[in-house]
Each structure stands twice: as structure tokens, then as C-alpha cells.
């Protein structure tokens, strides 16, 4: 799970990119390192933008189309920045049986955003996960990296409203 994105101060740009380069160097800048490099980009920047994809493509000597193809193939990679807070709703079978769908509907009704969307004020992003592996706590959500289990739609909305903006 990656950290929520913060607007990048430009002065630190080179420092940040170095974190990605370290990972690519570990694999000798070979094309095999593409997925690891994208993980590093997302961990550093919070999401993967076109600029980063171009730089990774050059560094690993891969066509940009391949980098884009891989970045969009895997669910874990995000190509858009996330809001200040993220609410990941687990859609695993156990959570689904116990009402994850109702949670999504409630969030859509309350905040007007669906899976993968962010509120216009960048306050909240709602996402779904295939399974967070906390089936014993179903239904579960991950609010800003913290797993909350046995939780109903109303409680979630309350938790989100309590988050500072």
C-alpha cells in the first residue's frame, strides 16, 4: 500500500528520482526491472505519471508503449494522483457477502465518488481492493493505511467525516 500523495516540491525532484534509480540500478537497468521500477515510482510519488513513465522507459531502454502497457495492466498501479485521504473498500468474497456493495453505494451517495475517483477538492479518494486478506474482519476497509474491520456504511462515513481536511 502506497503512501497518500502530496504535491511534489520541485526542488526535491532529483532526490526523489534517485530513489527510483537505486532500484533500477539494483537490476542493472535491465528490462526485467520494469515492474520493480514502477513500484518504486508509485512508492515515491504516490502515483505514476507520464513523465515518470518516459523516464523509466529511457532508463531501462524499453519502448514507452511497453511501460504504459505494464503500468495499466496491473491494478496496483495508479496513473492518477490520489486525494489526501484514501478509503480502500475490500471487495473480497467474504466482505462482499457481508455487504461491501452497500458500503460503496453509501460512499457514492455521501461523497459523490465511485471506485477510483477523487473528490473535486482532493480530499478523499475511494478505491476497491480485490481482497485485503482480513476476511476474519469482514466487511473491512483500509482508511489511510489503517484496516478497520466489522464496520458498517454509516460508521465509515462518520470515520471519514472525522478526518481532518
Amino acid at each position: 500500500m502506497s503512501a497518500p500523495a502530496k504535491p511534489a516540491p520541485l526542488t526535491n525532484e532529483e532526490k526523489r528520482w534517485r530513489l527510483v534509480e537505486v532500484v533500477m540500478r539494483r537490476y542493472g537497468f535491465s528490462g526485467d526491472a520494469l515492474i520493480e521500477a514502477l513500484h518504486a515510482v508509485q512508492e515515491t510519488y504516490g502515483f505514476i505519471d507520464e513523465e515518470s513513465m518516459r523516464k523509466v522507459a529511457v532508463a531501462l531502454n524499453l519502448p514507452l508503449s511497453k511501460v504504459y502497457g505494464v503500468a495499466t495492466f496491473y491494478h496496483f498501479f495508479h496513473l492518477k494522483p490520489k486525494g489526501r485521504h484514501t478509503c480502500v473498500v475490500c471487495m473480497g468474497t467474504a466482505c462482499y457477502i457481508k455487504g461491501a456493495d452497500a458500503i460503496m453505494q453509501k460512499l457514492a451517495a455521501e461523497f459523490g465518488i465511485k471506485d477510483g475517483e477523487t473528490t473535486p477538492d482532493d480530499h478523499l479518494s475511494v478505491m476497491t481492493a480485490r481482497c485485503v486478506g482480513s476476511c476474519g474482519l469482514a466487511p473491512a476497509i483500509v482508511l489511510d493505511q489503517q484496516v478497520l474491520g466489522h464496520i458498517g456504511p454509516d460508521q465509515i462515513v462518520q470515520h471519514i467525516k472525522e478526518l481532518e481536511s
Binding site: 500500500m1 535491465s30 528490462g31 526485467d32 526491472a33 520494469l34 515492474i35 520493480e36 514502477l38 513500484h39 511497453k66 502497457g69 505494464v70 495492466f73 496491473y74 491494478h75 496496483f76 498501479f77 471487495m91 473480497g92 468474497t93 467474504a94 462482499y96 457477502i97 457481508k98 481492493a129 480485490r130 481482497c131 485485503v132 486478506g133 482480513s134 476476511c135 476474519g136 474482519l137 469482514a138 473491512a140 489503517q146 484496516v147 478497520l148 474491520g149
Partner: protein, 537 residues
């Protein structure tokens, strides 16, 4: 380190355990951690430090199974298990150590959930400290590996794994010994071992628990496999969605390298084996061997036609052995306790034990390990404690999106690879989702079809085009717009997708739909509308 030096480390740890038998074990697996067991452990340690009159020591241990009632805390040497322990309970817990147990928080260890289990993969999870190699060593860890490199030939090990009758625990159930032998015989300059820890089935968390609680057991299994097939490098392909597992595996690899149990010349022998972690990025199709290999090579996780099988041409074209987490975790025990001991458990065709993750509408959610051949009734109704108060169980879904639903009237079947397949489901990796009368089976089938549709990698047409069509058909029926013809259409399309898809994902995608149609057809039929004559000519 030499085996003697390692034995000394183990001995020192065992002595420390004997000197300090008063221990409180707090579960530090993901389930309990998300109920704040980390805080419980920290506060408990502080509280115990302050109380010189209480000789107990608090340590973080592995999963104790009953995830629904976490955080779980065990007390040794009394052998007590407490459930739902919060930081507020700590003063009472510390006071109770010298007095009587806290009755109201105590788990009944005599209940079937605990009594019926036989632990091989989950063995001693309540004692081993996941983040310390010394602790694993003291509980008999790495004994099998040390013995292998010192006294056994690769052929011996292949023979032992074959005799054990172990079959792949990832879902397919292919005989492990046979797979190992094929890779061992294959010709290649290099060979690789891959551990598939990309637990993609929604509703399954067995592998997560094993990765988090006994990372060394998996490394040991992989190293033994490497020795047996002649590989010197291994990859652990693990989900990025399991950050704790990744962190503990990284730590375990570093520790094992430091102790000379991974790396060059393991235990002073001529055998060298390195393990690297590769992060998955959320693609269910990467559970398919060839797709997983593509992903490790940094490409999109798309499968390719087989043959050639990875055993001949796998990672970078070299012979490659791929096994699931649970398969590797069984290996050390098979070698130490003999293959015959392992084969004495289970049924004729399915030997040993299997870990299941019980979840859904059931009392005792959690992890269990049971011998193969146990009935579904025993697992769901007795161990699982049945449905929550006031409800009745309708069906169990096994095998995730590739499996099927088994209705309650068939709960007497034996849980093994063949019986489950006969019922139209599969063993799968071990997720069991229980549904009660409030769950609509049409809805469940729709859920899985939505999953397969969005997880289809897009390479072959039957799966890429077929699964969205199936989804549309279910959706139409669910919205009360479907007719009898739509069911017939669905059935023929299922058959087409099943028989013509390239990989396991597509071939098994119709299973949830077909099994619910088979056992719960009336639920579909209740939603049908009459054929509008004029539009359907």
C-alpha cells in the same frame, strides 16, 4: 555457519525458553494487528516491566487461528487462550496471571475449532516468533535443510517427496514429487525455483498467514527444492497488497543469509541458493504459472500456451519449478517426520492436511488446518460453529472465482481434490466462504463473473469476450429482464469459454455460474420474465 554452530544457537534459545517458561504470546499476524494487537503487545510489555512480582514475558507470535475474535493472546505454561483482548484489559490480565484465569475472556480450547485440527503447515505458529530466526531454529526449524545438504542426495529427496503423496496446494493438485522430478531431469544451464505467493483468490488468506508467521518455513522449503532439482536461485513472487508479509520475508532472507542458511555454501556444503523477492502488482491471472513468469520478467502477466511447460522452459527459458506457499511449507515436516507419517493422513488420493480460510456468514471465522478427507459438515457446522444466531447455512463456496458453490444438503462429501471436482467445484487454494439464506446465489455468481471479467488478461478471445457476455447475461437476469432463453444462452456460452480458453482463468471462470445453476436453478428461474413473443422470432 556450520551445523554445529547453528545447533548451538538453537540450544541457547531453547535454554532461554526453559528458563523463562512464563510467556504471553500476542498474535502479530495481519488480522489481529488490525484490531490493534500491536498496541496490546507494547502496553503489555511495559506493564510487565513495571511488575517485578509477575515473572512473565510478552512476545509477538504467529496466527492462532480464530481471527474473528482477535486480538488473541496465549498464556504459557498454563496453556490459556484469551480472545478480544484490548489495551483496556491489560491490568486485569496481568493481575490474573498470579490468580485465577479471566473466565469471561477465555477461549474454550476444547471446542471442535481447535480440537479437530492437525497442524503441519501451521505447526507451532503460537510459539514461533515470526521476526526471529533463532526462534524458528529452536522449534526445529532448518533441521530438514541442514540434514539434506549434509546427508541426503537430491535423488533421496525427490523420492521422499514422491512417497509423501503431496499434491500442489495452490489449487491444481498436481503431484509435487512428479513436478520436482520433471524439473530435476530437464536439461538447462540454470534452473529456478519460484514460490507463488500471489494469493489472488478473494476470500483466501491462508498464504498470507503462513508468509507472515513462518517466513523461514517457506525459505527452507524453497532451498530444499533448489537442492533437489539443482537450482541455485529462487524467486518469491508475493503480492504488494501484503506489506507485512513482504517486510517479514525481506527480514527473514537477510537473517537466513547471515546465518549461512541461504547464499553461498549453505551450512558449509557445496550447495548455494539465493532467494529474491519480486512484488506482484495485483493481477489474478498471475496465479497461472506462465503469466507469473512473464510478470517476474517485468512484462504484462499474460499466459502463453503450454507445452512447453515451465518445467522445461520457464523463467528466461530455463527449467523452472513453481509451487505455492503452502506446498513449500509442507516440505520440511515431510523430511523430518518421514513421508510415511505425512501419507498416513488424508485419503487415498489426497494425502496430508490442508489449510482453509473460513469466512463469510459463519461463527468462527479464521484459519484451520485439517486432514484431507474430513467432511464439509465437520468443517462448516462443527468447527466453524454454523451460521450466526438465527440464520441457516445455505451453501459454501470453495476455490474462489475458479470454484463453485456446494449446497448444504451435500455437506457430507469428503473434502479432497476428486470429491470437490465431482461436485462441480475445486479445492482451490483453500478459501471457504459460507453463505446463509440471506445471500442470493445469482448475486454471488454475478460477483465472481464480474471478477473474472475484469481480471481477464485479454489475450485470448473466449475469455476476453466471453466473460463480459456472461456477466451481461447474469446482470440481465438479476435485473428481472432475463428470459429462459438467456439461461440456455448462458449455459452454451459457459461451455464454450470453459473448453476454448487459453489458461486456467478462462477455463474455470464459468464454474461459479455453472455450479449455482446446477444447485440453485430455482433462484435464477424466480427472476425470469416471460418471453416477449413479438421481439424474439
Amino acid at each position: 555457519m556450520t551445523p554445529e554452530a547453528l545447533q548451538e544457537v538453537a540450544k541457547a534459545e531453547q535454554d532461554a525458553l526453559a528458563k523463562q517458561p512464563q510467556r504471553i504470546g500476542v498474535c502479530t499476524a495481519a488480522g489481529c494487528l488490525s484490531c490493534k494487537s500491536g498496541d496490546v503487545l507494547k502496553n503489555l510489555q511495559t506493564a510487565l516491566d513495571r511488575r517485578a512480582d509477575v515473572p512473565y514475558k510478552a512476545v509477538g507470535v504467529g496466527c492462532m487461528g480464530l481471527c474473528a475474535r482477535g486480538p488473541l493472546v496465549s498464556v504459557e505454561p498454563q496453556g490459556l487462550l484469551y480472545e478480544n483482548i484490548t489495551t483496556a484489559d491489560i491490568p486485569a490480565l496481568v493481575d490474573s496471571l498470579a490468580a485465577k484465569p479471566m473466565k469471561e475472556k477465555q477461549s474454550d480450547l476444547g471446542m471442535p475449532f481447535f480440537k479437530r485440527q492437525i497442524k503441519v503447515v501451521l505447526d507451532q505458529f503460537d510459539k514461533i516468533q515470526p521476526e526471529r530466526l533463532e526462534s524458528y531454529l529452536a522449534h526445529g526449524g532448518y533441521e530438514a535443510l541442514m540434514n539434506c545438504v549434509a546427508h541426503r542426495s537430491p535423488g533421496d529427496i525427490l523420492d521422499m517427496v514422491k512417497r509423501s503423496g503431496l499434491r500442489g496446494r495452490g489449487g491444481g493438485g498436481y503431484p509435487t514429487g512428479l513436478k520436482w522430478e520433471t524439473v530435476a531431469k530437464a536439461r538447462g544451464d540454470r534452473k529456478f525455483v519460484i514460490c507463488n505467493a500471489d494469493e489472488g483468490d478473494p476470500g483466501a488468506f491462508m498464504d498470507r498467514s503462513v508468509l507472515e508467521c513462518a517466513p523461514h518455513r517457506i525459505l527452507e522449503g524453497m532451498a530444499i527444492a533448489g537442492y533437489a532439482i539443482g537450482a541455485s536461485a529462487g524467486y518469491l513472487y508475493v503480492r504488494a497488497e501484503y506489506p507485512l508479509a513482504v517486510q517479514r520475508l525481506k527480514l527473514a532472507i537477510r537473517q537466513a543469509e547471515k546465518f549461512g542458511l541461504l547464499g553461498d555454501h549453505i551450512c558449509g556444503s557445496s550447495f548455494s541458493f539465493k532467494v529474491e523477492i519480486r512484488l506482484g502488482a495485483g493481477a489474478f491471472v498471475c496465479g497461472e504459472e506462465t503469466a507469473l513468469i512473464a510478470s517476474i520478467e517485468g512484462r504484462r502477466g499474460q499466459p502463453r500456451p503450454r507445452p512447453p511447460y515451465p518445467a522445461e522452459k520457464g523463467l528466461w527459458g530455463f527449467p523452472t519449478l513453481i509451487n505455492n506457499v503452502e506446498t513449500f511449507a509442507n516440505i520440511p515436516a515431510i523430511l523430518v517426520k518421514t513421508p510415511e507419517w505425512f501419507a498416513s493422513m488424508g485419503t487415498e488420493q489426497s494425502k496430508g492436511t490442508k489449510v482453509f480460510a473460513l469466512a463469510g456468514k459463519i461463527q468462527n471465522t479464521g484459519l484451520i488446518e485439517v486432514p484431507m478427507g474430513i467432511s464439509l459438515r465437520e468443517i462448516v457446522l462443527e468447527m466453524g460453529g454454523g451460521a450466526p444466531e438465527g440464520h441457516t447455512i445455505k451453501a459454501v463456496q470453495t476455490g474462489g472465482p475458479s470454484g463453485g458453490c456446494i449446497p448444504a444438503e451435500h455437506f457430507d462429501i469428503s473434502v479432497d481434490y476428486e470429491s470437490l471436482r465431482k461436485m462441480g467445484s475445486i479445492m482451490g487454494s483453500g478459501g471457504m466462504i459460507v453463505m446463509d439464506e440471506t445471500s442470493s446465489m445469482v448475486d454471488v455468481a454475478r460477483f465472481f463473473m464480474e471478477f473474472c471479467k475484469s481480471e481477464s488478461c485479454g489475450k485470448c478471445v473466449p475469455c476476453r469476450v466471453g466473460t463480459p457476455q456472461l456477466y451481461e447475461l447474469i446482470e440481465r437476469i438479476r435485473a428481472r429482464r432475463g428470459t429462459r432463453r438467456d439461461i440456455a444462452r448462458m449455459e452454451s456460452l459457459c461451455e464454450m469459454v470453459r473448453t476454448t480458453s487459453l489458461c486456467g482463468l478462462g477455463q474455470t471462470a464459468p464454474n461459479p455460474l455453472l455450479s449455482t445453476l446446477k444447485y440453485f436453478r430455482h433462484e435464477y428461474e424466480e427472476l425470469l420474465v416471460d418471453e416477449p413473443e413479438e421481439t424474439r422470432t
